[in-house]
């Protein structure tokens, strides 16, 4: 009863987009796919959807190869948003639903409910080109779920949305999850992942560098974070001189430092006390996902290696 991605590779010309990735997503899970641009997230999703065929490896859903699974199993929100510009919103949603086998009467009712939920019921009769980008994105989300798919794959679903709409979409996520569906989405926003995802995989250059339940991923790095505040010494310059300790940032309330796996985090506290200082704050924590990500991949968005399409306006070949 799981989605299994088994050793998938895919090459486009000179670029090895996927290099033998393997993943497992449990039903009912919210799964986050992280990675820098060009890490292979979109290609992986397209292969799961059978829009692309892998060079090697296979994908199974509940034990059956994805090439034999009904298209209605999947819902897809592509990264490249697009609707029929001159078609009315309701009309095109009913059209997309019809392609997935949903009768028009039922589709129309569902469309009404979702537009209501997204607070844009008045747009049903408008042409798509008259809508703002954020609202078009919501329409696309509705198009992806109208046929009640078992697995919903979304490529950067939150990009370009304002905070209010991000909140609306998160609510919709949880609603879908309550219905027992599986959600897979890719994103750059680590806070969103920590908030929503039960499991993640971090991709880099077509490989899974780390994956599993979020808590385990954070713990598995072996490093710990200590947060320390000492009266009368806001800078804590001596921290960096301790072996295996590196200051990450100086905050208003405390200074955060990373402690390598070979060192006991409590030794930092002992060191502070042995200096005769008065400790006002001490905390040991797992690294944040962002720190884990940086540890594995390097800084976010440094290496552009993307296969994704440039915007039409930029293409002047």
């Amino acid at each position: 009863m799981t989605l299994v991605i088994d050793a998938i590779s895919k090459r486009f010309g000179d670029i090895q987009a996927l290099d033998g990735i393997s993943l497992q997503v449990e039903p009912g899970q919210v799964f986050g796919l992280l990675g820098a641009n060009g890490a292979g997230k979109t290609t992986a999703m397209r292969i799961v959807l059978d829009i692309l065929r892998p060079d090697s490896g296979r994908v199974t859903w509940q034990g059956r190869p994805n090439t034999q699974v009904s298209r209605r199993t999947w819902g897809y929100l592509p990264e490249e948003r697009g609707l029929y510009a001159r078609m009315r919103v309701e009309e095109q949603l009913v059209f997309f639903a019809a392609l997935q086998g949903v009768p028009p009467r039922i589709a129309r009712r569902e469309v009404g409910e979702w537009l209501e939920r997204f607070r844009i019921p008045e747009y049903a009769g408008r042409k798509a080109e008259e809508l703002s980008k954020g609202n078009q994105q919501k329409i696309q989300f509705i198009a992806a779920i109208l046929h009640d798919p078992d697995v919903l794959l979304m490529d950067e679903p939150f990009s370009g949305l304002d905070p209010v709409n991000v909140a609306l979409l998160k609510e919709a996520f949880l609603e879908i999850q309550r219905r027992g569906k599986t959600l897979i989405f890719s994103t750059h926003q680590m806070e969103t992942v920590e908030e929503l995802c039960e499991s993640i995989a971090i991709l880099d250059h077509g490989r899974v560098v780390v994956g599993g339940p979020v808590r385990e991923v954070r713990a598995a790095s072996g490093r710990r974070m200590v947060r320390l505040a000492v009266e009368g010494d806001p800078e804590l310059d001596w921290l960096d001189t301790l072996e295996g300790v590196r200051v990450i940032r100086h905050g208003q309330d405390y200074t955060e430092a990373q402690v390598g796996r070979e060192r006991d985090p409590e030794s930092v506290l002992r060191a502070a006390l042995s200096r005769g200082a008065r400790v006002t704050h001490f905390e040991i924590a797992d690294p944040s996902l962002e720190q884990v990500f940086i540890e594995h991949v390097g800084a976010i968005d440094t290496s552009e290696r993307t296969l994704a399409a440039p915007r039409a306006a930029e293409v002047t070949a």
Partner: protein, 472 residues
């Protein structure tokens, strides 16, 4: 092949969407309107041309000073003027010149000044002293060349008109009076009208094209045909071939545009997750084909209305007596129309599939023309081959090409109308065409599913083939 499973109903939904999107578009409305108006105008055109040429009629009054001019003067002049000026005119158009005798010279001169008549022709006989009679001396040297060679007793003429001495009108009038003068001389030399008509009788010339004869074995429609019949057949064949050519080019481009539009608006990826490339391809071809057919019907109806209106319009404008006789069209038979319908649909399907594949290779609609250029060329080759084939529909190269799928819609149709074709030949070419369509569907689907995900890059053949090999 996975895609063949369950072509319906999705292809139907896509076809319906394509049809609606196309037909509701503003450009569809205006292009249909313009073409329908043109068709209507062409239907009524013969009557209009007739009406306009009637307005341009030149009225000439003829005044004779003596009574011994030939009795058939008016008929001779009329025949000469009509014969000279009607070369190349369609039959049934009105005569450019209208002649009438007058006995009141003063009144005729007044009419000429008022513009009620366009010309005044005076006829005199040169007296024995050879001096020009005053009644016919309307100008100085302008009558020159004719007078110089005139002998006593000859007919001489004077002509007044609001035109130039070297113009078309004077040229025709000069020819006519020459004829009259020569006939008069012959009559005075004792050659009676019968002898004259023998003298002017046309020589007999028999003509044949030995190559054409040899090729048309004589069976079927190629046998005994009158010239008029042949002209009508050529017209019909040309018209139908042009119709197919226009359909392939313009409606095929629609299909390519529609694919490119989905790519540039990025709705493609959403479609790909909901439908197979084969469903999309066939839906697009059917939807755009039906939209094209709708436009076609509108044009046909307008054209037919124009033809039907010819009679009433002619009655109203020209008077009942002058109504144009209905054009007789031979060559349009039920089998020809059926074959036309079949080749029309199949030819469109074949080209449209490839146009869709071409459209999938570009990222923007502006590039569609360039990408579909090879198809345009292919279609042009068929079209031009067919226009040449019309001159000899039974030539071996025509027969050979009429089985080649990309050309058969044009050439088999031409042979069917103009040459001799056995039923099995038509069946074989249709069968080949159908097989090619199946292959084209498969090839186009592969190019399409590979092409639609390639953005921004100029897509070469090798890249497409590489992508198509791994596409689903």
């Amino acid at each position: 092949m996975r895609g063949l499973r369950g072509l319906w109903p999705n292809a139907g939904y896509i076809a319906r969407r394509e049809y609606q999107a196309r037909v509701r578009g503003r450009s569809f409305f205006f292009s249909t309107l313009i073409l329908a108006v043109v068709a209507l105008a062409m239907g009524v055109a013969p009557v209009v041309i007739q009406y306009l040429s009637q307005g341009a009629q030149t009225r000439i009054a003829v005044y004779a000073t003596s009574s011994d001019i030939p009795a058939d003067t008016l008929q001779v002049l009329d025949a000469s003027l009509f014969g000279a000026s009607s070369v190349g005119d369609t039959p049934g158009t009105r005569r450019q010149f209208q002649l009438s005798m007058t006995t009141d010279l003063a009144a005729a001169e007044a009419q000429l000044m008022d513009g009620k008549i366009d010309g005044l022709l005076r006829i005199c006989r040169l007296p024995a002293d050879g001096s020009m009679p005053a009644a016919c001396a309307v100008g100085g040297a302008s009558a020159g060349s004719g007078q110089a060679s005139a002998a006593p007793g000859d007919l001489v003429f004077g002509y007044q008109a609001d035109t130039t001495a070297n113009g078309r009108q004077v040229f025709f009038v000069r020819q006519a009076v020459n004829t009259l003068a020569i006939q008069d001389r012959l009559a005075r030399s004792g050659i009676d009208p019968q002898g004259q008509s023998r003298l002017f009788a046309a020589a007999s010339l028999s003509f044949a094209n030995p190559k054409a004869r040899a090729a048309s074995g004589g069976t079927g429609a190629g046998g005994a045909q009158s010239d008029e019949d042949q002209v009508s057949r050529v017209l019909v064949a040309t018209a139908l071939i042009v119709l197919i050519f226009i359909v392939v080019i313009s409606y095929g481009t629609w299909v390519a545009m529609s694919v490119a539009e989905e790519k540039s608006s990025r709705v493609m990826e959403l479609m790909l997750s909901a439908a197979t490339p084969l469903q999309m391809l066939s839906g697009k071809v059917i939807g755009n084909g039906l939209a094209g057919f709708t436009q076609y019907l509108a044009i046909l109806v307008a054209g037919a209305a124009g033809l039907l209106l010819q009679g009433p319009v002619a009655d109203a404008v020209l008077g009942a007596a002058n109504g144009a006789g209905g054009p007789s069209v031979t060559g349009v038979t039920v089998p020809v129309l059926l074959a036309f319908g079949l080749f029309f649909v199949l030819g469109f399907a074949l080209y449209a599939l490839l146009y869709a594949a071409a459209g999938s290779l570009v990222s923007r609609q502006e590039d569609v023309q360039q990408a579909s250029m090879p198809l345009m060329m292919l279609s042009m080759v068929g079209y031009f081959a067919a226009t040449f084939a019309i001159q000899g529909a039974d030539a071996p190269w025509v027969v050979a090409l009429s089985f080649v799928p990309f050309f058969s819609p044009y050439l088999m149709l031409a042979r069917l109308i103009l040459g001799s074709v056995a039923p099995w030949e038509v069946a074989a070419s249709v069968l080949l065409l159908l097989l090619t369509i199946v292959v084209a569907l498969w090839v186009a689907a592969r190019i399409y599913s590979a092409g639609v995900l390639l953005y921004g890059q100029r897509v070469g053949i090798r890249k497409v083939l590489a992508a198509a090999r791994v596409a689903r």
